[in-house]
Structures are given as structure tokens and as C-alpha cells.
């Protein structure tokens, strides 16, 4: 970016452009340096923290709303900083994109270097082996050739050996005639490169999922059918490049739903398991059935269907003042906690003379505890609804979309009894109660269970998974393979009266040295073993 600008200004070559290019090169070197990678990694870790403290709209939209209500002053600031969607924010993306840039810039040159290194021979023995940090030497009566042949044999099993030079002679005067050069652990770098490249694969898989995938949720009362098109979802969260044509063609019906409750012990009142019996059809295919459970999603084409929650829908019939049925059917009530006491509203807009709305709680197994209504078990064994009644304009005619879980009470009035206290409907299954003022009556017919189903496509998940698995394999290679170079040099020296020389008056001085390329091995032991192995071979003949 800098260099072209220099050119555009048409400055005569030399200095300006040179520094520009140098600057560019310097920047690039900075970006791809190990230190930068390290700092960026730490920045990434740091940047991930706020998202675990501030509620995230992608995780829990409700919590975000609540937080915003509680902190009206901070909200605009937080919004500006994208703190409610940290992981999609510009600053978070900037860090990891820089990291990716650094990674690519770091990995590509290393791949090239590695490709060359693969073909190269182990380097020739340095002139002075005793200069290496790890070295040892000993004397032996064996001729030098013999020692080297043995070294070649011992090392050849697990090392790549430098092919004896002689003819190539490019290694200079020392040649290789008096030494064996060996190297092993080439796969470490391969593992490391594989790991870093796989990180890119994972990111690609993750990005595909984020762009083309979607998540949708829907609550279905037992007996109802879901057809897979956009209008049927309660909530729908598509990726940026999602198109509705992606939706797989299928429908399914929740035939029945069962919960196995624990009756006793400390876990009483928790569910041991839930099963939703589904019948489903893919396209125009035959009808099939599937037991949908937690941890056992149903896969249809590229779409997965998950069971993630359940609750109760009381079936309530409202008759208006003229005796006509103004509403009948199951209404989804939302559980407030794990006792499954559930809250909901029932609306009867066609009721005459006035619209009727009910709001209140459902107790699955009703009982009184010290005068307070409670549910003693989460299963619907003695269900009771306790509702307040509103009449008047429920705000449904304005045409604005309204949540089915909220009653608009602005223009409605709370129905009271003769004493002016709120009129409360407490109904067990089968009971009917007349409303005051000739408004009508309410009947509690029965309770139907409902299930909350999550439907999603996450394309690219296989790519991401393959990426992580490859990364893990590469990582293990990178961490556990110990690359090193080992040299053995044997040289005959004239015997100078050292007593233990047996024949001919010459001894062979053997020098062994090694270089640990990862800096984490225990080279000393390796060299000791090698020397021992060379000795062993000596003692055998």
C-alpha cells in the first residue's frame, strides 16, 4: 500500500521507494514474527473475556434485554463497543484476522523451507565437535572405518544418514570420510505445519457455519405438526448468506411425549428422561417414526432436529356472555423454574360483549403449603390453573404483532368480584366457573404437554471437526517428536604410549556430538546410549 503511493507521485526512484519497500518489508516481518503471534494470542484471550461477563445476544437474548433495563446508563456505551455481541464485533474479528494473517505469513515460508529441508541431506559434521553443547569422546582400539561403519548401522535404524560424500566433495576439505552425520525427527516440523494449517481449516469450517447455517426454534403442543418453512418457526436466526431455498423439505408431528420422573431419593422430581415420539416425512417420502430424546437428534438431510425443552399447555375453553365459544384449545405456558409452575396468558378476542384475557399460573401438582399454592411435583398429577381475568380492548386490533405470552392490559380492566378484590379463577381439570358481570365462563379441560424443538443446519461442521482432528494429530507430532542431529567422528591417532593400546600403536579417537533442535529433549542420555551401543558392538566380536 505504501509503495504504489510513492510511485503515483512519480518521484524519481531511489530513496523514497526504497524506504517504503523497506517499511513494508519491516512491517511484514513484524506481523509474521513469533513475538507478534504470541502477543496476538494473548490479546485474543483477553478479548474473549468480556463476552463471558456481559450477556450475549447470540447466547441469551432475554438476559441482554434484562441487563439493558437494569443499566440504562451503560447500555449506549456497551452497544457502541459491541459488548453484547463480542464474538462478531469488529475489534474481536480484527484480532483474529490479524492472527490469521500472521499465521499465513508465518506458515507459507516455513512450508517452503520445510519442503527444501526434506530433500536436503543432514548437514556435514562441524569441524570441531567439542564446540557443541552436548558432546563426548572416547578412545578405542577399533580402526576408524570400523567405528564409522558401526555408527552408520546403529544410527541408520532411526536416523537419516548423510550419504558419504567423497565424489560430491562440496562439503569442503573435511569431507565426510571421517564422520557420520545423522538426523531424525523431520516429522516434527511437518506436525507443526499441519497443526497451524489445520487452525485455518477449523476457522474456515466455523465461518461456513456462521454464514450459511441457521438456528430456529419452535414450541409444539403434543399432536401438532410442523412443516419446515420460515413461517412456522417461533424464532429464526439465519447466517449472513442463508437463503430460504436451503431449507430441507420435511414435516413432522409430535405424536406423544413422555417424561420418566424420579419418584424418590434425593433426585425426586427430576426427569430421568424425556421422549417425544415423532412421525416424520422427508419430502414426499414415506412416513417414518423417531423417538426424539435429548442427546439424540433426528437428522433429516442436512438439518438436525433437537429436543431441548418441554412444558405444559392447559386446554382452556372460554365462552362469552352470549354463550358462544370464544376460544378453545391448548395454550403454551412457560415454566418458571424446575418445579414447572408455569406462566401464561389466554386471549379470547372474539368474545362478546367484551374481549376476555386470562393471565396466571399453572400448578402441575397443586397443593397448599402453609396457605400458599405450590406445586409439589413437576409432573401434571393434580393440575390447577390460577388466573386473573381482564376484559376490554386487548390491543389485538391495532395490527401490531403481539407476543402470545404477553397480555396488553393498557385498555383492559381487571375483573373484580363484589368486594372489589381481583376476581381469581382457580380451576382444576374439568371445572367451569362463571365470570362475574355476565362476561361468560371459563372451563379447564385438560393439560397437553408441549416440547421445544430446535431445528438447525450447521454446514461446515464436518470441516471444522476434520480440522481439529488434524490439528490434534499435528500437535502430537509437533510436541512429541524430538528432532535432533547426531555426529560421530572417528580419527586414528598415533599411539603415544597410552598403556591400553593393544596393537599397532594406533588408537582411534571417537567423538560423538548432538544437537537438539527442539530444545526440550534429553540429548545427554541419547549420546550415552549411542556410545554404549557403539561399545556393545565392540564387545561382541
Amino acid at each position: 500500500m505504501v509503495a504504489p503511493e510513492g510511485q503515483r507521485e512519480g518521484r524519481p526512484v531511489a530513496r523514497g521507494e526504497l524506504t517504503a519497500r523497506e517499511l513494508l518489508r519491516w512491517t511484514w516481518r513484524q506481523v509474521t514474527s513469533m513475538r507478534t503471534a504470541l502477543v496476538l494470542l494473548l490479546l485474543l484471550a483477553l478479548a474473549a473475556i468480556p463476552g463471558s461477563v456481559v450477556p450475549q445476544s447470540g447466547v441469551d437474548a432475554l438476559a441482554v434485554t434484562r441487563w439493558k433495563e437494569e443499566h440504562p446508563d451503560l447500555t449506549p456505551i456497551y452497544e457502541k463497543l459491541d459488548l453484547f455481541s463480542v464474538y462478531d464485533s469488529i475489534w474481536f474479528s480484527a484480532i483474529y484476522l490479524l492472527l490469521v494473517l500472521s499465521l499465513v505469513g508465518c506458515i507459507i515460508p516455513r512450508c517452503l523451507v520445510y519442503a527444501r529441508a526434506l530433500r536436503a541431506q543432514p548437514p556435514a559434521a562441524p569441524r570441531n565437535l567439542s564446540r557443541l553443547p552436548e558432546h563426548t569422546s572416547y578412545e578405542t582400539s577399533l580402526p576408524a572405518d570400523e567405528v564409522l561403519a558401526r555408527a552408520r548401522k546403529v544410527l541408520g535404524r532411526r536416523y537419516r544418514l548423510r550419504v558419504s560424500t567423497g565424489s560430491t566433495g562440496s562439503t569442503g576439505s573435511t569431507g565426510e570420510s571421517d564422520a557420520v552425520s545423522a538426523e531424525r525427527g523431520y516429522l516434527r516440523e511437518a506436525g507443526n505445519l499441519l497443526f497451524h494449517l489445520s487452525v485455518l481449516v477449523v476457522l474456515a469450517g466455523f465461518a461456513i457455519g456462521g454464514l450459511f447455517g441457521y438456528q430456529g426454534g419452535v414450541i409444539l403442543v403434543q399432536g401438532s405438526t410442523f412443516g419446515n418453512n420460515l413461517t412456522q418457526y417461533d424464532d429464526f436466526d439465519p447466517g449472513g448468506l442463508f437463503t430460504p431455498e436451503q431449507l430441507d423439505e420435511f414435516d413432522f408431528t409430535v405424536e406423544d411425549f413422555e417424561v420418566e420422573w424420579l419418584e424418590e431419593g434425593s433426585g425426586a422430581g427430576t426427569a430421568r428422561g424425556f421422549v417425544a415420539g415423532l412421525s416424520y416425512r422427508e419430502g414426499d417420502g414415506p412416513e417414518r417414526s423417531y423417538d426424539l430424546k435429548v442427546n439424540h437428534p433426528l437428522s433429516i438431510g442436512g438439518t438436525d432436529v433437537f429436543l431441548i425443552g418441554h412444558g405444559y399447555a392447559p386446554v382452556i375453553t372460554i365462552r362469552d356472555g352470549e354463550g358462544n365459544i370464544a376460544w378453545t384449545g391448548p395454550t403454551v405456558f412457560l415454566p418458571q423454574d424446575s418445579s414447572f409452575v408455569s406462566f401464561g396468558v389466554v386471549k379470547a378476542p372474539p368474545a362478546e360483549p367484551e374481549q376476555i384475557g386470562l393471565e396466571g399460573l399453572l400448578y402441575p401438582t397443586f397443593d397448599l403449603y402453609q396457605g400458599d399454592p405450590v406445586s409439589v411435583f413437576p409432573d401434571a398429577r393434580n393440575p390447577l390453573v390460577s388466573l386473573l381475568v381482564y376484559s376490554g380492548d386487548l390491543g389485538l386490533d391495532s395490527g401490531e404483532a403481539q407476543s402470545i405470552y404477553v397480555l396488553d392490559k393498557e385498555d383492559a380492566t381487571l375483573v373484580t368480584d363484589e368486594d372489589g378484590k381481583p376476581f381469581r379463577l382457580d380451576l382444576s381439570v374439568g371445572e367451569t366457573i362463571e365470570l362475574p358481570d355476565g362476561l361468560g365462563s371459563v372451563t379447564f379441560e385438560r393439560v397437553e404437554p408441549w416440547v421445544r424443538v430446535q431445528i438447525s443446519q450447521s454446514p461446515g461442521k464436518e470441516v471444522a471437526l476434520a480440522g481439529v482432528v488434524l490439528a490434534l494429530i499435528g500437535l502430537c507430532g509437533s510436541l512429541f517428536i524430538r528432532p535432533r542431529r547426531v555426529w560421530v567422528r572417528a580419527r586414528a591417532v598415533a599411539g603415544d604410549g597410552a598403556g591400553d593400546t593393544m596393537a599397532g600403536g594406533t588408537t582411534t579417537v571417537v567423538e560423538v556430538a548432538g544437537l537438539d533442535r527442539s530444545g526440550n529433549g534429553d540429548l545427554a542420555e541419547v549420546l550415552t546410549d549411542l556410545v554404549a551401543a557403539l561399545h556393545d558392538e565392540k564387545e561382541r566380536p
Partner: protein
């Protein structure tokens, strides 16, 4: 055996483990105190000049006593680990249906500390970890006490979402990695302490007493690296492979930036940073060790802290006990 009997056995196992760990700690502290006297080799030198026999004899018995105490402490730790295991298995057997003993924080802590002990015992010979004994035992004992006092919950069946074999694999690997990271972290702490002491009083003062038994800085660094290098892939497997697979099956999203996931990711990134630091000039040694400890802090914070300050985690053992059921209480 009834479930209640198993639960009692489990509680007793953990209690016995705690007591025996405490005994082991005392023994190791006695060993430590013995070592505060000049090291045996120096004693021998001193003995050569000064009146011989009796003193050098006394010195030798001091060294011997230290060795004996070391072995005793090790033995006690083994016994404690046995009781610890009983406590762990009892938890799983006490549940109906039987299950893996890591369904909530208490159980996870008991399992995690058990792995720390197990790894310490397993690596004791190979890496000559005798010097680490007081630290490991202190850590395990303290964490176990925290678990018993603050985290203990009666046995309960697994929540539905946790009822998956992926949970078994996921948690086993997470627990193993946690144990290993903790051991590596201890090595890093000792590295920093020894480095500090070494630079304060230059020379060979560090060869005295307990720090004298601690391996050289270089060896400590390598040990820490090796343990971390083992733990990191295991953590990768736990957090980035089995975790997402399980999350996908249970919640339909393989990665949802849930606080638990976020912190697991942070831990992973910090340890990746540690591995990088060791290969970066200027970051080797001290800085790398500090990074390892930051990683360890995020790890344990995720495990204990996140549950208490963040309510939106879907990782359900973070949730409190299921129902307020006044009629039953």
C-alpha cells in the same frame, strides 16, 4: 449395598483421604524440616575437619531420617489416594442409575484432585518428584476441603443433557488435562521461586534445604514443559473435539460462546501462548512460567469461578439444586 450406603461410604472415603493426606503433609513437612539442616555432602566436608565420628554419625542419621520420612509420606499419599478412589467410586455407585462420578462441581473437584494425586504418584519415580510432595499434597488437601465444605451436594441422578457417553469422554479428558496442568503449574511456581531465590543471593545458597533438593532451573523448566506438552493435546481433545460434539448433540450448537466455553477457549489460547513463549527469544523461562500460571488460573477459575459469577452458562452442573420443594422439606 444400598445407594445410601454407597453415599456414606463415599463421604467416609473422602474424609479418610483428607485425614491421611493431612498426615502425609505433616510427614513431608517433617522431612522438609530435617532437610533445613546442611545437606549431607556439606556435612561430610565439615565432618572431615571437625571431630569426626559422633557428629558425622548424627548427620547421616539426619539424612537417613529425611529419606525415611520421604518414603513414609509417599506411602501415606498412596493410602490416601486409595481412600480418595473409594470416595470417587462410591459417588458413582450411589446414584440411581449408577453413573460416572462427575455430575456436579463437588464430584468434578474430587475427580480432578484424584487425578492430580494419581499423576504425581505415577510420575514420581520417573521424574524424581520427591521434592514436589509437600506442594502436591497441600494443593490436593486444600482443594478437597473446599469441595467438602462449599461444594458438597447429595448424590443426584445425572441431568438429561449430561447423560451421554460423550460426557464420559469429555470429562475424563478434561479432568486428566486439569490434573496435568496443575502439576505443570506447580513445577512452574517452583521454577519462579527458585529463580527468585537464586537471583537474590547469588552463589550456591540455593543448594541448601528444600530448594536444594529441587531440580535445577533448567530441569524444572523442562519438566514443566513436558507435563504441559502432555496436557495441552488432552485439553485440545476435551475442549475442542469432544466438547463441541457433545454440545452439538445436546444443545444443537457445537460452539455457542457460552461462558464455560469461552473460558475453556481462553485457557487453550493462553497455553498455546505458553508453548509459543518457550520458542520465542526473550520469553523463555520466566515469562513462559508466568504464562503457564496464568493459564492455570484461567483453568481453575473456569472450573469453579464461572459458575458463581455468570448465570447464563448452560453447563448444567453450574445450576443450583433442581427444585424448591417446600412440601418435601
Amino acid at each position: 449395598m444400598t445407594d445410601a450406603a454407597w453415599e456414606t461410604l463415599s463421604n467416609q472415603g473422602v474424609a479418610v483421604a483428607g485425614l491421611v493426606y493431612f498426615a502425609a503433609l505433616l510427614v513431608h513437612l517433617a522431612e522438609w524440616a530435617t532437610l533445613r539442616q546442611p545437606a549431607p555432602r556439606e556435612a561430610a566436608l565439615v565432618g572431615a575437619e571437625a571431630p569426626p565420628a559422633s557428629t558425622s554419625n548424627a548427620r547421616r542419621t539426619a539424612a537417613e531420617r529425611a529419606a525415611f520420612l520421604g518414603r513414609l509420606g509417599f506411602l501415606l499419599t498412596c493410602i490416601a489416594a486409595g481412600a480418595h478412589l473409594v470416595g470417587l467410586v462410591g459417588r458413582g455407585m450411589a446414584a440411581d442409575p449408577n453413573r460416572v462420578p462427575w455430575g456436579n462441581m463437588y464430584e468434578f473437584t474430587v475427580a480432578g484432585t484424584f487425578v492430580v494425586t494419581l499423576m504425581y504418584l505415577g510420575l514420581h519415580r520417573r521424574f524424581r518428584l520427591g521434592w514436589m510432595a509437600p506442594l502436591v499434597v497441600t494443593f490436593v488437601l486444600t482443594t478437597l476441603m473446599v469441595a467438602v465444605i462449599w461444594l458438597h451436594e447429595p448424590v443426584q441422578p445425572l441431568r438429561e443433557a449430561l447423560n451421554s457417553y460423550w460426557l464420559v469422554i469429555h470429562v475424563v479428558s478434561a479432568v486428566i488435562a486439569t490434573g496435568a496442568f496443575t502439576l505443570g503449574g506447580i513445577a512452574s511456581i517452583v521454577y519462579l521461586v527458585k529463580m527468585r531465590k537464586g537471583s537474590e543471593a547469588t552463589g550456591s545458597t540455593t543448594t541448601e534445604g528444600w530448594l536444594g533438593r529441587v531440580p535445577s532451573l533448567d530441569a524444572l523448566d523442562k519438566l514443566a514443559y513436558r507435563v504441559h506438552a502432555f496436557a495441552f493435546p488432552v485439553w485440545t481433545f476435551a475442549v475442542l473435539i469432544t466438547g463441541p460434539i457433545w454440545a452439538h448433540e445436546a444443545w444443537s450448537r457445537y460452539w455457542n460462546w457460552d461462558p464455560k466455553e469461552v473460558w475453556a477457549f481462553i485457557t487453550w489460547v493462553v497455553y498455546a501462548g505458553y508453548l509459543h513463549a518457550r520458542a520465542t527469544a526473550g520469553w523463555k523461562g520466566r515469562n513462559a512460567a508466568i504464562l503457564a500460571l496464568v493459564g492455570l488460573a484461567t483453568l481453575w477459575f473456569n472450573f469453579i469461578g464461572v459458575n458463581y459469577f455468570s448465570s447464563s452458562s448452560q453447563h448444567s452442573y453450574a445450576l443450583e439444586a433442581p427444585v424448591e420443594r417446600p412440601a418435601g422439606s
